[in-house]
Chain length 260, copies 4
């Protein structure tokens, strides 16, 4: 999977917030096999989270994908992105412009505007968006080379709330990397996203808030591979009427045996 | 997982019917990592499927679980089971007594009766049943030490048609091995079964009829592990109202940074 | 709809338990337009519920369908049915034999046995059953002329838990009256049952435990009619790809207008 | 329900395209009891559809809600709206700006822009939109006094594709009339929309393309009322564990009876 100029093997991207401890975060990153982690600038800037957290990420060997989590305006998001670039020394930015406090849904208007500004400023933008096809087109026109549609509201763990919408998105953008971002709760949700032909899954809460985050990280990694391979293997179509999975060719033969 | 006296590690059991070729079946078994394969006596008895197929299964090193696929009466099922014991030299029998030709749903009355007869005759019965709790109790009274509820009609690939019913089954039989048998279509279906706390998944058509059965076998194996670990990791509860997955503790701090 | 020898117009049957007051029950019956009400013998026998309740039912003009709610064995159910016949002077009996205390699922074994006994004793049995096709066949063999499959556990309000199962039931018993009994929570659930081609819906808790039972009774009645007519009207098939609902024949014409 | 300055009783709005014949359209309008019908200017402008169709609508006594179906740009939509105002002599306009040909999803950017222009020009805009909360806010800022979120793509008959999204919309805009527009296939879909607290439902294809459009119109009308009343009646919450719908208070009493 090509994310701008970078080739990434792992199809699971991991968020770094809300873990019970730095050690557990570190182990979860390892267990997930992820090569990209998202970091909130705000978290990073928070007192006390600084040096150790940063060393931990560096030690992980992962690409850092800074995000603009918590930003509600174009100005906030752009400013945060610029600080992130200085701090993390990367053109990558996961662009979140939150339009609604409860559902954390993107403000698609501000998102497109911020994406334009940041792209022109040399950023490689990873936009957190909805399944709206027109918004997707605007983001691509704005210079985004990939899209990150939500599965469900951030932190909800509801899974894929609008599977048909994501399916339409895949059909409409066959060549653009699509990363489902937010809403994943269980491994089967992650597998479903990949079975829809998505390129990758980004998640955070489902791992960080599981009873055992490290085991969940490993489970998610396997689910993503399972879904990806399942999609590649060209699955059977569901059938409305059940058909035998065991051929009955031997029926005559068997009845012979029975009546011997 | 203990199936009667046998300890089995792999939580995926594989059927052996309908594969494009014996070689593909062999590779699918290997890719799946399964330790138990089901074999239809009727298939085995059919002309032309004999020696090579048998050698192939032997070479796989898997436990053979003969089944009574295609049997519609107690008499047919019992007779078939007895022939299977002679042929495969195992007390194990996957007991299918089909009650309805289109949906291949079990005849739960004949199933319980056949289970009683076979158990008394020394068989270790793996009953293909519905999610009916009372039928499950009768099967256990009849001597079955595990249950194999369907996910959906055999060969339908519809996934878990009645998730609440399976959930109730898990709650009602906390200590009985439960193996979802039939209906799985995609890796996410297999993961969901395990996330419900099921002990294992048995499938056939979804692998045999995939475009690439070997890749699908591998995908299913990983999905089963993902679901099992996901269940063990104590997943977050889905939340109706979205909550931030990134703490906003640094907000004040950031605005300080912004206004410097 | 013919229920044994009786022609019934209304496709909504109502339970009479759990209402806030007798007056509200009476108004709910009227609002529902139902012609059949079920009555628990146990409730009727309970001290204090007697005469007034009975007068109320009589005044409603509805056919009484006594039920064996709360019975867990064949003996209990048969005895209760016989008492009900004496008390209510009707051959009708809604046969419930509960197999599991939490889910209130039928004991399909005891159900069939009790149905045989009661039919031979001259009863007209309304069996509360699951969506199991084989059980349905046994009940018909036992003399039942209609079937009452559950939608979901009694009192759960979950709606139709296994829609495919109910659909298979309709396909398998095209000429037998099928009444969805239990599990309905909202008017749309009742409409869905009828859209599946069911003949009627029986419900109790959804009305009795609504904030305003009388309004809910009226809503359910309309939903049942809406679903029945919707089924009769031969609905469009859902389409995966959206198509315009407005013809664009006038497009050329319009662009002429625009450029005038 | 107040739609701008007009009080409307009926909660079902009907589209007028795709009917088998004008006579059937006329009968469907009557059967639906609707007080508002949408009319495509393009359809109206098409040769041969003119005078008779117009007379038919006039005779129906319904308010005409012209729509901009088939428009893909702000300019097209605004021009069409202006022609519609002249033709139908009404400030009402159902604003559709289609962003994607296959799914007929709104172009939310063009929609907001066109809504601003039209509102400033004195129109009363009925915007066909998605469930996006931020888009909804922009439309209200633009002067829209009601919103028409889609249920699913126009003409798909898929029902409510994103129920959680519609639920969030209702919660976020408690005082704005919300009319689900597009995607309804069956009466139960219409009832569900109303059970979510929506104010009304607009549909077309589900009636026009039913085998019997007039019966379906009547069914939809009843479903809308059923859903509305069901919502008003404060339905029970679904329960995970089943509870008896018949009190067992009389149990001791009954067993006394039994043992007499």
């Amino acid at each position: 999977m090509r994310l701008y100029e970078t080739e990434i093997d792992s199809r699971l991207l991991l968020g770094t917030a809300q873990y019970p401890s730095p050690a557990i975060l570190q182990d979860a990153i390892t267990a997930s096999g992820c090569q990209v982690v998202t970091v909130s600038l705000r978290r990073e800037s928070a007192e006390g989270s600084g040096a150790g957290f940063w060393d931990l990420l560096r030690a992980s060997g992962c690409q850092i994908l800074p995000n603009t989590a918590g930003c509600h305006t174009v100005h906030e998001a752009v400013t945060t992105a610029q600080m992130a670039r200085d701090l993390f020394n990367t053109p990558w930015i996961k662009l979140e412009v939150i339009g609604h406090g409860d559902t954390l849904q993107p403000d698609v208007f501000a998102l497109v505007e911020a994406a334009q500004i940041l792209t022109q400023d040399g950023f490689q933008v990873f936009p957190y968006t909805t399944e709206d096809l027109v918004v997707g087109e605007k983001l691509i026109e704005a210079g985004c080379q990939l899209l990150m549609p939500w599965g469900a509201p951030i932190g909800s763990g509801q899974g894929l709330r609008n599977r048909d919408g994501l399916r339409a998105m895949r059909a409409h953008f066959p060549d653009t990397p699509l990363i489902v971002d937010a809403g994943i709760g269980r491994p089967s949700d992650a597998a479903q996203a990949m079975e829809l032909g998505m390129d990758a899954v980004l998640l955070n809460t489902a791992v960080a808030k599981a009873g055992d985050p490290v085991t969940m990280a490993r489970a998610m990694a396997q689910a993503v591979i399972a879904g990806q391979q399942g999609h590649a293997a060209d699955p059977m179509e569901p059938r409305d009427m059940a058909v035998p999975s065991t051929p009955t060719l031997g029926l005559a033969h068997l009845s012979e045996l029975e009546h011997r």
